[in-house]
Amino acid sequence: GAGVSQSPRYKVAKRGQDVALRCDPISGHVSLFWYQQALGQGPEFLTYFQNEAQLDKSGLPSDRFFAERPEGSVSTLKIQRTQQEDSAVYLCASSLAVGGEAFFGQGTRLTVV
């Protein structure tokens, strides 16, 4: 595709449910980032992949959050036992090279009820 694609666009989860959010980066992009954006706030860094290697996961808020990129392309962000404070837009971004311009997807809006 022409840009970063994220699915689903919207997800409603009951508290305690596990969710999986998918990111398809731009083909050939080495770097992949996940950000969390609460309503009315700027995006906050969660984790970073360079190809299949997860080089930085310092932004993951708890051990309920897990991300993977097993083949260095598609990435999945998984949240276990969702809680209301997990409600946010989850943004994925990719860049061709380390330090290159980051292109963002439209995000997945997660609402935990």
């Binding site: 080089l55 943004l91 980051a102």
Partner: protein, 115 residues
């Protein structure tokens, strides 16, 4: 879609006027700065960037100014149009920040252009 602009500082301008959006950054080690535009229901979109060895950079209708002494960044939009209405974020990162080059976003500003 739901607005990302709730609780954000708002700048309201008339169509055709120039807009200036300001941002204070926190990390003196940051050496690369980017302005993003985010429309409702969309991800951030790159507008313009500047490195710390510059104090001004111009694009099409946009200019970014960097004052490292007071750690201040501004975005100037000339002849603002209704399509410029969005939330604007500044972001900082160390250019050679090791493995990550993660972006640190500031508090956004909602730009509302009145026709």
């Amino acid at each position: 879609g739901e607005s990302v602009g709730l609780h954000l500082p708002t700048l309201s301008v008339q169509e055709g006027d120039n807009s200036i959006i300001n941002c204070a950054y926190s990390n003196s080690a940051s050496d690369y700065f980017i302005w993003y535009k985010q429309e409702s229901g969309k991800g951030p979109q790159f507008i313009i960037d500047i490195r710390s060895n510059m104090d001004k950079r111009q694009g099409q209708r946009v200019t970014v100014l960097l004052n490292k002494t007071v750690k201040h960044l501004s975005l100037q939009i000339a002849a603002t149009q209704p399509g410029d209405s969005a939330v604007y974020f500044c972001a900082e990162t160390p250019l050679y920040g090791g493995a990550t080059n993660k972006l640190i976003f500031g508090t956004g500003t909602l730009l509302a252009v009145q026709p």
